[in-house]
């Protein structure tokens, strides 16, 4: 920002007043500020990550030695089910789309908020409620124990009389509502709220990744919801969707589940691709190689991902002519990923890499992702897949993908954007140590799983005999597990300490390429005092444009301070289309989320009356929500 003389100061003050949040806790409850919602997501998912991690460590401890008795089979079954459900639905998706997406996307596209701020708040509160819903069930002793893929008939009433699978089915539908709302919100935000001038060919690759993930969620989740509706009806209301004796089908569950489940895997890692393509330019001071291919590859991974679902079902005995379709798609879905890997590597080589902690995590991510990706590629060979299917080989593969490829960039991103969110710098050396701990730990944790898999160790077994010869590998894995946990604690400790007494970061410590670095750290409620000018995909490197913003502020152009205003532009070319007033903070999202939670509670305890009453209250609160229009407030 240039020297601030009086008119400018007045304008900034106006904005400050205009965007002033409610004070205190009320402010957090009723907030519609994407940054606050992002932080709420971040903390909630962090807690759930801790729970999922604790479950994982308990399992590793049980498997550390043969015939171990740390937990019994029924506890162990609940543990791996909860671990899977938590990490996928309650950690990675909300952490990437929820926390990173919410906080960063409006900043990166130069908007002042999401397209639907109140819906954004709603998706968080619904997510929180669904998490509580599931874990209250778990704490009350009815945790689901049918594995995260909940195959019928094992999860039907006949074989699983407890309440656990009802919690599973409803919690997933409930959580699905949140994710669907969020993804719809992201898509519209990235379509309509981009700063004028940011056409498709100037949108950061980070945004393309989140666009892909959002489209994936939007089209994948309904299949899962349908599946869970069937499961719930079959368990509680005597329908026969999965009942072979009455003309149902058990494979129906698997088809619908994996139609969601495989795109899901890409939905988990594509945001990580986005984080990588955001961090690499900053630490190589070089535009990402092959921008058009990166952009399309990110979309393509998810798109082709919709055509591979039955490669999770190669052992169910489908006709060969059916499975080849999925093998072919599985083979080619490798290519977009390969394109990205090559262009990341080439960007690193042809740029000037500074291996600070975030870039270290990205390098580690590339290594882990290629490792997991290549073993995934092996499943194109159907007979080989049928050999290792459901063994620890598969566990190793998708943990290399999900931990290595999805979570590493999340960690990298935590370090990278920490200065933006807190205004402080993290501690570099401890950060690098935490990386090496996590990198060594995860490889020690997951690599031996490949071997025990090939030696025939099935997944989801609570113990094994010494004669199997799996003991040494499992012990190594457990040690790796604890090493990883230690590394993660080091990471979090670093961030906490840095938050308390880190160096001030300034607006742009990395000379980052995208717009979030063009505003102060932490950003003000209105993100940008003037709607930024954009003439390339690396807006923050266009010095002339940034100076222009400063001039605009000085002579009051593009400040949009006549209300709670932001700019809306056309979809393809980002032509400045209209100026709209955004909703202020609203109490209705948490209220509606609460009513929804009560509806699901009523359903799970079989009190349909209660559910009906609160369904009505949902409608009422929707009425209240829409009573005042943004410009009336």
């Amino acid at each position: 920002m240039t020297t601030i003389e009086l008119p400018t100061r007045q304008r900034v003050d106006r904005l400050e007043r205009m965007w002033q949040p409610e004070p205190g806790v009320l402010g957090w409850l009723t907030t519609t500020d994407h940054k606050r919602i992002g932080l709420l997501y971040f903390w909630t998912t962090l807690v759930l990550f801790g729970l999922g991690g604790a479950e994982a460590l308990t399992m590793r401890t049980q498997l550390a030695s043969p015939n171990n008795n740390v937990v019994g089979p029924s506890t162990y079954d609940q543990l791996f089910t909860m671990h899977g459900v938590t990490m996928i639905f309650f950690f990675i998706i909300p952490m990437t789309t929820g926390a990173f997406g919410n906080y960063l996307i409006p900043l990166m596209i130069g908007a002042r908020d999401m397209a639907f701020p109140r819906m954004n708040a709603l998706s968080f509160w619904v997510f929180l409620a669904s998490g509580l819903f599931l874990y209250i069930g778990f704490a009350a002793g009815s945790g689901p124990d049918g594995a995260w893929f909940g195959y019928v008939p094992l999860t039907t009433r006949a074989f699983d009389p407890g309440r656990g699978e009802d919690f599973y089915a409803l919690a997933i539908i409930f959580n699905g509502i949140s994710s669907s709302l969020a993804s719809a919100n992201f898509i519209v935000t990235m379509f309509k709220m981009r700063a004028p001038g940011m056409s498709f060919n100037r949108m950061p690759t980070f945004c393309y990744a989140f666009l892909a993930a959002s489209f994936g969620l939007l089209f994948a989740l309904p299949a899962l919801s349908a599946d869970c509706i069937y499961l719930w009806l079959d368990r509680n209301h005597g329908t026969h969707f999965f009942d072979v004796a009455k003309g149902g089908s058990t494979l129906l569950w698997q088809h619908l589940f994996w139609f969601f489940g495989h795109p899901e895997v890409y939905i988990l890692i594509v945001p990580a691709f986005g984080i990588a393509t955001a961090i690499i330019p900053a630490f190589t001071q070089r535009k990402i190689v092959a921008y058009p291919l990166i952009a399309i590859a990110e979309l393509l991974v998810v798109f082709i991902g919709f055509g591979v679902w039955a490669h999770h079902m190669f052992t169910v005995g489908l006709p060969t002519i059916t499975v080849v379709f999925f093998a072919a798609a599985t083979a080619m879905v490798v290519i977009p990923s390969a394109i990205q890997v090559f262009s990341w590597c080439m960007s690193l080589i042809t740029g000037m890499p500074r291996f600070k902690t975030p870039l270290l995590f990205i390098a580690g991510f590339i290594f882990m992702f290629v490792n997991g990706g290549l073993t995934g590629l092996m499943f194109v060979a159907i007979p080989f897949d049928q050999q290792v299917h459901n063994t620890y080989f598969v566990i190793a593969h998708f943990h290399y993908i999900i931990f290595g490829a999805a979570v590493f960039p999340i960690f990298g991103g935590m370090y990278y954007w920490f200065p933006k969110v807190t205004g402080k710098l993290y501690l570099e050396r401890p950060g690098q140590i935490s990386f090496w701990l996590i990198f060594v730990g995860t490889n020690l944790l997951f690599f031996p799983m490949y071997i025990v898999g090939l030696l025939g160790m099935p997944r989801e077994i609570y113990t094994y005999a010494p004669s199997t010869g799996w003991s040494a590998y499992n012990l190594a894995e457990t040690i790796g597990g604890y090493l990883t946990a230690f590394g993660i604690l080091a990471l979090l400790g670093n961030l906490v300490v840095s938050y308390r007494r880190g160096e001030p970061a300034g607006p742009d410590p990395w000379n980052g390429p995208t717009l979030e670095w063009a505003t102060s750290s932490p950003p003000p409620e209105y993100n940008f005092a003037v709607i930024p000018t954009v003439t390339s995909a690396y807006a923050n490197w266009d010095v002339a444009d940034r100076e222009r913003d400063a001039r605009n502020l000085a002579d009051g152009a593009m400040v949009l301070d006549q209300g709670h205003e932001t700019a809306v532009s056309s979809v393809a070319d980002g032509r400045f289309s209209e100026i709209v007033e955004m909703p202020h903070s609203s109490p209705w999202p948490p209220i509606l989320a609460f009513c929804l939670a009560m509806v699901f509670t009523g359903l799970v305890i079989g009190k349909i009356g209660l559910a009906a009453i609160f369904a009505l209250l949902c409608l009422v609160s929707l009425g209240g929500w829409h009573w005042k229009e943004p410009q009336e407030a």
Binding site: D227, G247, L560, V568, E578
Partner: protein
């Protein structure tokens, strides 16, 4: 590029001003895109139901199973046709609102509302009647049959709620917010009508193939 060139659409206070602002902006508003997202998501859900119907049917030696009469064709098809025609008044309403003709908008919406609620009333009565003859818990066929049909009726019901809410809103004059809502809800109804045709078509297909 200056903000003076573009309309502050939410500040338009009367019907004509709103219509002018709507004409000046480029492309569809965010609200319309939001509705499109809802349609995409709902469409996929209903698509999963329809796919389930066909998947279960593939594995069945007799469809519908012995003892269940083939579903009625003529009346449901006719009703679906009637519902389909309501896309016309909905579209006319969405055109009228963009021309700032508030009364016309109200009238078209009202007309559509009457026809659609009539449709739903008849269909629900019929649904209950069928439920009494064949329980949803009889077998997989009846499960998916009633689920699919019920889900479709639910969509019609939600459409009616939206319409009712919109009519109440329009009593207090026109704003950009309500204009966007009208356009979006018209699209929702196009979706619901198409959906109904597909669902009825699927359920009655046993008489054809």
């Amino acid at each position: 590029m200056s903000e003076l060139a573009v309309p502050r659409t939410t500040q338009a206070r009367n019907a004509r001003a709103v219509a002018r602002a709507a004409a000046e902006r480029i492309g569809f508003p965010a609200g319309w895109w939001g509705m499109l997202m809802l349609i995409a998501s709902e469409g996929t859900l209903m698509g999963s139901f329809v796919a389930t119907y066909w998947y279960l049917r593939l594995r069945a030696p007799h469809w519908p199973p012995a003892g269940i009469p083939d579903p009625k064709v003529v009346v449901p098809m006719a009703m679906a046709g009637v519902l389909l025609t309501t896309s016309v008044p909905m579209q006319l309403a969405s055109l009228a609102v963009r021309a700032g003709r508030l009364t016309a908008t109200r009238l078209w919406l009202l007309l559509a509302f009457v026809v659609q609620s009539g449709y739903l009333a008849y269909e629900l009565a019929d649904y209950m009647d069928e439920l009494h003859r064949t329980a949803m818990t009889r077998d997989a066929y009846s499960s998916i049959y009633f689920l699919l049909l019920g889900a479709d009726h639910a969509h019609v019901f939600i459409g009616l709620l939206l319409e009712l809410w919109l009519l109440l809103k329009l009593v207090r004059g026109l704003t950009m917010y309500r204009l966007n809502a009208t356009v979006a809800i018209a699209w929702y109804w196009h979706f619901v009508n198409l959906l109904t045709v597909i669902v009825i078509g699927t359920l009655t297909s046993v008489n054809v193939v």
